[in-house]
Subunit: 244 residues, 2 copies
C-alpha cells in the first residue's frame, strides 16, 4: 500500500519525544516507513507514543539499525538533510526539487530514503557522504536550525504535495449553489426599489453613483442563493423596523 | 525592516511552550510580527522563551489583544488556517496559493495577517468568518491535525520560499574547480595504461567493454580536480602495493 514513498531515516535521535513528533509529522504527510539508527531512547516509550499523537503505528512498524550503512543498505537513492554548508562535493537540492527527484525515481521502482541527523548536531560528514545528494530546506539564514520533527515535516510536506491533486483555489459552497447573475441583479433591483420607496433617494444626485457601488459590492461577491435570501430577509426586517 | 510580511496571529493559544515554538518557526521563515489574542499562559514565561530557541525577540515584540477583532483591526487582508471543512462561504486556498496572494497583496502595501486557532480546537466559526479566505494546508486526510507551531511553520515556509531566490539545484565545490574533460580523459587514459601495464588486460576480450564502463563511471560524475588527484594517488598506492 505504501510502497511508493521514501524511507524516513532518523540517525541517532536523542529524545524519544522527538521521534514520536517526527512520526506524527510523517503521518501528516502520508509517510509510513520509519527507520532509526541507534536511537538513544526507546522509541516505543510512553513519551514517544504520546508525542506521536495517534501516529503510533509508524513507531510500532519502525525498523531499528545499528549503523547508517545498514539502514540504507537496500536503498538505491539517499538524500541527506543538512542546514550547514558542507565541505563535500555533492549536489545540493532545494526541498521541492528534492521531492520532485525522489517522486520521479520512486515511481520507476527506485527505493529512496531521506537521512535526518541527531537533534543537537545534525548529520556528521560520514553520514552525509553516504548520500547521493544533500537537501537544503530554504530558511531564514539568521535562524535556520529546525526541530527534528519540523525538518521531517517540511521534507515530507514537499513530497506529499506531489502525491495529491488539490486545486490551488476553490470556493466552499454552503449547501446552496452559487446564485446566477439573474438572481443577483433581481436582488440589486429589489434593493434599489426599496431605497427609492424610502424617499429622498430617487432625487438624490448621488443615486447613480450609489447604485453602481451597491451593484459592485453585491456582484463581485460570488453569493449563494441562500446568502441572497439572507439579504432579502435583512432588508425586509429593516423596513419593518422603519415602519413602526 | 520587516514591513512586507504578514502578521502571525495566534488566537487563544493554550500553552506558552507552543507560543515559543511558533515564534521559533516564524523566525525560521523570516517572519517577525506576532500577535496574540487572549493567550492562556504568559508568552514571556521561561518555558516560552526556552521553547523559542533564540527567537525570543519575537516574543518580546509580540502584541497582545483581547479579541480577534482587535487583533485584525488595522489589517486589510486576513487568512484563517483551518483543517476542518467549514460550513462557510469562503474561498479556500492551498498554502502555496495563499502565500502567493499574500505576497502580491503585501507588496502593494496591503497589511496581511494569518489567523491560527487554539491547539485543541482550532479557530471557531466566529473567527473564521472574519477572514477573507481560508488556508487549507494539503495534508494526509487520515491525519491532518497539526501541532500549532507546525501549522505556523508550513504557512510561513510557503511565504518564505517566495522571498528568496535560491537555485533548485546546485553543486557544492570543495575548494577546487570542476575538472575539465581533458583532465578527466587524461585520468582515464592513465588508468587504462596502468591496467595494460598490469598484463592480461590488453589481451582481454572484455577490455573494450571495461574501458567504456570505466570511462562512463568517471565522466558522468562531475569530478573536481582535487578528486581526480585523489584517484591518481589511489592508483599509485595500489601499484606500489602490488609491486612488493
Amino acid at each position: 500500500m505504501y510502497e511508493k514513498q521514501p524511507y524516513i531515516i532518523l540517525v541517532e535521535p536523542q529524545l524519544a519525544e522527538n521521534v514520536g513528533m517526527a512520526a506524527r509529522a510523517m503521518m501528516n504527510c502520508g509517510l509510513y516507513h520509519l527507520r532509526l539508527v541507534h536511537p538513544r531512547e526507546d522509541h516505543l516509550s510512553a513519551k514517544a507514543i504520546s508525542a506521536s499523537s495517534n501516529a503510533e503505528e509508524i513507531l510500532y512498524n519502525a525498523e531499528v539499525f545499528d549503523t547508517t550503512e545498514q539502514a540504507i543498505a537496500d536503498l538505491n537513492y539517499v538524500l541527506a538533510t543538512t542546514s550547514r554548508h558542507r565541505d563535500q562535493v555533492k549536489p545540493v537540492l532545494n526541498a521541492n526539487r528534492a521531492a520532485e527527484i525522489l517522486d520521479e525515481k520512486i515511481a520507476t521502482g527506485v527505493k529512496g530514503g531521506i537521512l535526518f541527523g541527531p537533534e543537537r548536531t545534525g548529520l556528521n560528514n560520514q553520514d552525509v557522504c553516504l548520500s547521493d545528494a544533500v537537501i537544503n530546506i530554504p530558511l531564514n539564514p539568521r535562524h535556520c536550525s529546525l526541530n527534528l520533527s519540523q525538518a521531517v515535516l517540511l521534507a515530507g510536506y514537499e513530497f506529499h504535495k506531489l502525491q495529491i491533486e488539490a486545486p490551488d483555489e476553490q470556493f466552499v459552497i454552503n449547501h446552496s449553489d452559487l446564485a446566477d447573475k439573474e438572481k443577483v441583479l433581481q436582488f440589486c433591483t429589489y434593493l434599489e426599489n426599496k431605497l427609492d420607496d424610502c424617499g429622498n433617494f430617487k432625487e438624490d444626485e448621488k443615486r447613480d453613483k450609489m447604485v453602481i457601488n451597491l451593484r459592485n459590492i453585491f456582484t463581485r461577491n460570488q453569493m449563494t442563493e441562500q446568502e441572497i435570501n439572507t439579504l432579502y430577509g435583512a432588508i425586509n426586517r429593516l423596513m419593518r423596523h422603519s415602519s413602526h
